[in-house]
Amino acid sequence: VSELHRFRAMGCEVVCAGGDPARVFERWDAAFSRFRADSELTRVNASPAWTVRVSPLFARALRVALDAAEQTHGLVDPTLGAALESAGYNRDFALLGDDPGPPGPAQPSRLGEVVLRGELLQRPPGLALDLNGVVKALAVDEAVAALSSDGFVSAGGDLAVRGPVDVGLPGGGAVRVVRGGLATSGVVSRRWRRGRAEQHHLIDPRTGRPAESPWAQVTVSGATCLAADVAAKAAFLLGGDGPDWLAERGLPGRFVAHDGNVVTNPAWTVEAACI
């Protein structure tokens, strides 16, 4: 692997080799940040109109998010912006601290209220979209495609490779990512407190609250970083059913429980031959 580049984007450290795709991340962040007043997402969420014309990039990302929701039976949901705000995630995570006040009310999914036709978005005013569930992975996939040579792009728990790369895993161990992406979703980072309750950013759309899961971290190998990320989030939210859900789709998955115990599904065990 050639020289490493490091920079911050989309609320996390980006590490890459084989090129410097900082501009790719800047473009995605400028459009989809919940915390930038000039982002398109902020403008769309603040619009009082029922129908909003969005940019081609926004339409593409939202279409991907709606498809991800369909593939995961609504588990990966782009309409949970209000739930994140209610849990207290209302500013850049670097600025987020504990708060003695209680969290706001639960904000369940409003997926059925969103319609996208081409570049026309229809939804009730006040519905807060949050596309972070797919946008970072899309940025990683685009960035790795833009590399000038073999290498990788890693942003937070999202990673994609061009050529084989050996990757260290949460809780120890390593795996060689030969093709595609590797994503880890979990609650080890991005935690904070509201009142007595610990909060995190993985919202269960069925309750509108931070999810309760037996897993601390779920790592999935996908044909793309997007596929891996969507599957990892869904498997985390499915709790004990996560390993079987991945196995039914032939997706290699590795689960780290809160006590540090590591579980792998058959696809992971066969391919990686390690935990």
Partner: protein
Amino acid sequence: VASPSRIESARARARGAKVAVGALATLVFGAAFVGAQHHARGHAKHRAKPLAAPASFEQAVRQSALAAGEIAPPEQPPSVVTSTS
């Protein structure tokens, strides 16, 4: 020399004939136009729609979007450590 009344009646017949020929030509053209719309090969029979993949194809593509990547046992010390998102 023909009387003025015969000339007038001849002109009236000529005008009538011209109108009849014009109406017949319009009718024939209209019938041919409609016939072409319905029968001529290559002529649009209905309003054009944008090209799109069949719904079944799109569904198959969406389902396969959650496809597996390729992993293997590591061969070297890790170049990068994946964190958590």
